[in-house]
């Protein structure tokens, strides 16, 4: 009987103490969430997918450890080319550690690159199936990164991963989409300063691949040229040369060739490389002609 009365006293004291600490704990919890020190609750169903042992460890406050273990497991699925299990693993991992960029980035990379290439090169699949599977996994990779961005809106690394994915000429480039993601990256407060001019250059390259936005590209390219000598890179200079030709920029406002290129030899080699590596929608106005002129010029 005595033990029951003691337990009742204990419960009453704990309730009174609990009421006293409730607001303090609530405020501390809010401050921690605001400072991103504690993880948001796990998504519904994650515990079930984790299995009993991992779920217990994760619920016991060791989510980073469980995520690291599942990351190794995901690598084994990659090794076995089991893309379905790999995708499931990264969903679990990112649910456990939604603020870790690396997991979003690597999970997406496995999907949009490794899985997509695997299906594209699969010998037993008919061509239409190869194409559809490649597109499917490319889309899955992109969606995975977009989910990462939704959960970490100011994470510039995830925005840039999306931008790189949609501007990759070896995948399925969508330049307007890539430009949008580059602009989102530039809007991130967390973006380090040194990355800014490089990202603006990438934005320029991608805009120049969109025929209806080439005027905008010319303006951006010109601004970048005058901004810093660090921007005077062969690709930017050649694009600017072609864009000026495309819009017949008047001599007064045009950047002359002798300012654009350091000398005739480099002008020739840079333009030649640019011409050889061109894509369907690369601005090329006057490039071929200029290469020929340079080749036939006596001073060359």
């Amino acid at each position: 009987m005595r033990i029951f009365s003691q337990i009742i006293v204990i419960l009453v004291v704990l309730l009174a103490f609990g009421a006293a600490k409730l607001r303090f704990e609530d405020q501390l919890g809010r401050d921690m969430v605001e400072q991103k020190l504690i993880q948001p609750p796990m998504k519904e169903g994650t515990s079930l997918k984790l299995g009993q042992t991992s779920a217990a460890v994760a619920l016991g406050g060791l989510r980073s450890l469980v995520a690291a273990v599942w990351n190794f497991r995901a690598f084994l699925h990659f090794d076995e080319l089991d893309w379905i299990k790999l995708e499931e693993s990264y969903e679990i991992i990112t649910s456990l550690q939604p603020q870790t960029t690396h997991y979003w980035d690597t999970g997406a990379w496995h999907l949009h690159t490794n899985a997509a290439v695997y299906y594209n090169e699969h010998q037993d699949l008919p061509p239409f199936r190869k194409k559809s599977m490649r597109q499917l996994y490319h889309k899955k990779g992109s969606e995975f990164l977009e989910e990462g961005v939704r959960q970490n809106p100011d994470n510039w690394r995830l925005h840039i991963a999306l931008a790189r994915l949609w501007s990759d000429r070896h995948k399925m480039p969508d330049y307007p989409r890539a430009v949008k993601h580059y602009q989102n990256t530039l809007a991130c407060e967390s973006l380090p300063k040194y990355k800014r001019s490089q990202l603006r250059r990438f934005t320029f390259y991608n805009i120049s691949h969109i025929p209806e936005r080439r005027e905008e590209a010319l303006a951006l390219g010109t601004a970048l040229f005058y901004e810093s000598a660090d921007n005077h890179l062969p690709n930017l200079l050649c694009s600017l040369f072609a864009l000026q030709n495309e819009f017949n920029t008047p001599m007064l406002t045009r950047i002359p060739d002798n300012k654009l290129f350091p000398d005739k030899t480099r002008q020739h080699s840079w333009l030649k490389n640019y011409w050889e590596r061109r894509l369907d929608n690369t601005p090329t106005a006057g490039v071929e002609a200029k290469i020929k002129t340079l080749e036939y010029s006596p001073a060359f």
Binding site: Q6, L28, R63, F75, T100, T106
Partner: protein, 313 residues
């Protein structure tokens, strides 16, 4: 004669709280636990650290932050082991203490002397915490040493890579800063502090349970259950505070209220994850967490004394 009377009066006036007496009991408990060969765990931990420190990312992809990820994996392995050891040890050791003293008859010897029961309990608790603390300290030293050397090696490799690629000095400095933030920092020490705080609360809970439980196993099981419930307390509190009256049944409401009031909120101690990820932990947050821990430990210790004070053996 007068001197003898004074001596007797002094003994009778034995206060409830004597630091020196508590320290004697604590050091005895510490020795008692050391003799149980718990430090062998450190050898396992050292092995784990060595393996983790030689680990390289298994994928061939070279991302910008792969150096940081290697350090994160090293930290998460080490701190996961530290957290698991400290909580399990705090529960098991505390649950064992009173039954072991009873079995060895040490308890009768101590309590037949003018030793207040509160001092006995506090001494036992401090003894366990001393052991958990010193084990964590040793593991921390080992982790710090390995982490420091690994961070240095990764920074050197990254700087060499950067120099070969002609990176700007500004970028090199930033990469150095980014990798260093995943190395040995005060934020990491704050995370280890949170591990100790968690163990402190669990030890005091186990102490409270062991004062009225008749079996060690019961104490351990109940303490482990409370540990897991503690990770849902935040959800229960949010459910109560944020969803008041929003179609919630009275039973569910009472249950969530009870859980959030009675059990400690262990989610708050998950700044361990933030420390692993190299995030900055504000001093103010750590201080508030420490205050909450002492508050919890204090209240559970007082309640343990309440049930233990008139217990007959």
């Amino acid at each position: 004669m007068q001197q003898e009377i004074r001596k007797e009066t002094k003994m009778r006036k034995n206060g409830i709280f004597s630091p020196s007496r508590i320290l004697v009991i604590a050091s005895h408990t510490f020795t008692q636990l050391v003799r149980m060969k718990v430090f062998y765990f450190l050898a396992v931990f050292a092995m784990l650290m060595l393996v983790a420190s030689y680990f390289e990312m298994p994928w061939s992809r070279t991302t910008e932050d792969s150096a940081e990820q290697e350090l994160i994996i090293l930290k998460s392995t080490a701190m996961g082991a530290m957290a698991m050891f400290s909580v399990l040890f705090a529960i098991a050791a505390t649950a064992l203490l009173i039954p072991k003293d009873l079995e060895d008859r040490t308890l009768y010897t101590i309590l037949s002397k003018p030793v207040p029961r509160f001092d006995y309990l506090l001494g036992k608790l401090i003894g366990v915490l001393l052991l958990v603390g010193s084990s964590l300290l040793l593991m921390d030293i080992l982790l710090s040493f390995i982490l420091h050397s690994r961070t240095d090696a990764l920074i050197t490799a990254e700087m060499e890579r950067g120099a070969a690629r002609g990176w700007q000095q500004e970028y090199l400095d930033l990469r150095k800063e980014e990798i260093s933030q995943q190395g040995l920092t005060w934020d990491l020490q704050a995370g280890i502090g949170a591990i100790f705080f968690k163990a402190m609360i669990m030890a005091s809970i186990a102490l409270l349970i062991s004062t009225f439980s008749s079996s060690t196993l019961f104490t351990i099981v109940i303490a482990v259950v409370i540990y897991f419930i503690g990770h849902f307390t935040a959800d229960a509190r949010n459910y109560w505070l944020q969803n008041q009256g929003a179609g919630v049944s009275t039973q569910v409401k009472l249950l969530s209220q009870g859980a959030s009031l009675i059990f400690p909120d262990f989610q708050l101690y998950n700044i361990i994850d933030a420390a692993i990820e190299g995030k900055k932990i504000a001093a103010n947050i750590f201080q508030r967490l420490a205050l909450l821990t002492f508050f919890y430990t204090g209240i559970y210790s007082v309640l343990a004394w309440f049930t233990f004070r008139k217990k007959e053996f």
